[in-house]
């Protein structure tokens, strides 16, 4: 019988062994309370790039996808005190892969035994 931790270890191993990629989640720093400059577009927030690993990046002509282990997402969600992975991805400014910032347009959690073991992020490349 495989428990949830075992399933995550299997997913992590699969992501690492299948062309593991280097990706970072770009998170904006918390806004300054009562500060009008950001609300008026006069100032831009600081950003923090947080490693997403293990992950696998896939790009073809029509779609860009990033598979991320649930262990990585749970780690970041816990460290930054987010309620859920959904809120984390909603708040993120995007994902940086090979120096390119991609916007997150959709995400799907792959579940087994009712728990996520992997997240599939659909990304949008920047317009050049």
């Amino acid at each position: 019988m495989v428990d949830h931790a075992g399933i995550i270890r299997i997913a992590d191993a699969a992501l690492r062994s299948n062309a593991g990629s280097s990706a970072q989640l770009r998170m904006p720093a918390p806004a300054a309370s009562g500060d009008d400059t950001e609300q008026l577009g006069l100032a831009t927030p600081q950003f923090q790039d947080i490693p997403l690993s293990p992950a696998a990046f896939r790009r073809n002509e029509s779609t860009v996808k990033l598979l991320v282990s649930a262990s990585a997402v749970e780690g970041i969600t816990g460290t930054l005190a987010f309620d859920s992975a959904d809120v984390l991805f909603d708040t993120a400014a995007g994902v940086v892969v090979n120096g390119v910032l991609y916007a997150i347009t959709d995400r799907v959690a792959s579940l087994l035994l009712g728990e996520p073991f992997c997240y599939c992020l659909t990304l949008r490349a920047p317009v050049r």
Partner: protein, 168 residues
């Protein structure tokens, strides 16, 4: 033009917060009144419900006279899914409440505000009141749109301002 946009936003935010302090959003970890200017925020595919999203869509100018006049079209989008505990069955009432708040904020007796320059805030200076004003017309409500489980509407208002030569 930017001073007029900033002043209108500050007016809208202040009046909405005074009218309904409970309408707030959490954006990047900070609770703030439920109104934002889309062009001043991070690009996002997520549309926040239960808040007013300001977009500046058209602009026109009249350079004749001692002071140039500009007209800016402001579209205020908002949508709601109602209350989850009610299964969203109150989404129509929630949208009506937002309609009423917006109408009470914009269609008031005083449809003018002293224009201010907010650029000094970046260097720690105070907001600088200017010698000209902004004023605006009546709010026009658009049709209700159904977006999955949400009801959405766009209110449009024309904002006008005199522009000093230094602003052009």
């Amino acid at each position: 033009m930017q001073n007029a946009k900033d002043t209108f936003y500050e007016m809208l935010r202040g009046r909405l917060a005074a009218l309904n302090p409970g309408r707030t959003i959490v954006l990047r970890g900070v609770v703030r009144p439920g109104v934002l200017v889309e062009e001043n925020e991070l690009v996002s595919t997520v549309v926040l419900p239960d808040c007013f999203r300001v977009n500046w869509t058209q602009a026109a100018g009249d350079p004749d006279g001692d002071l140039a006049t500009i007209a800016l079209q402001c579209e205020i989008e908002y949508e709601t899914a109602g209350t989850a505990l009610n299964g969203g069955m109150d989404r129509g009432r929630a949208l009506s409440a937002m309609d009423a708040e917006l109408q009470a904020t914009i269609n008031t007796d005083t449809q003018t505000a002293l224009k201010s320059n907010y650029k000094g805030l970046t260097t720690g200076l105070a907001v600088e009141p200017m010698a000209t004003s902004i004023w605006w017309g009546q709010l026009v409500f658009g049709k209700v749109e159904i977006k999955d489980d949400r009801l959405a509407r766009t209110g449009t208002v024309m904002v006008m301002s005199y522009e000093k030569t230094s602003e052009l």
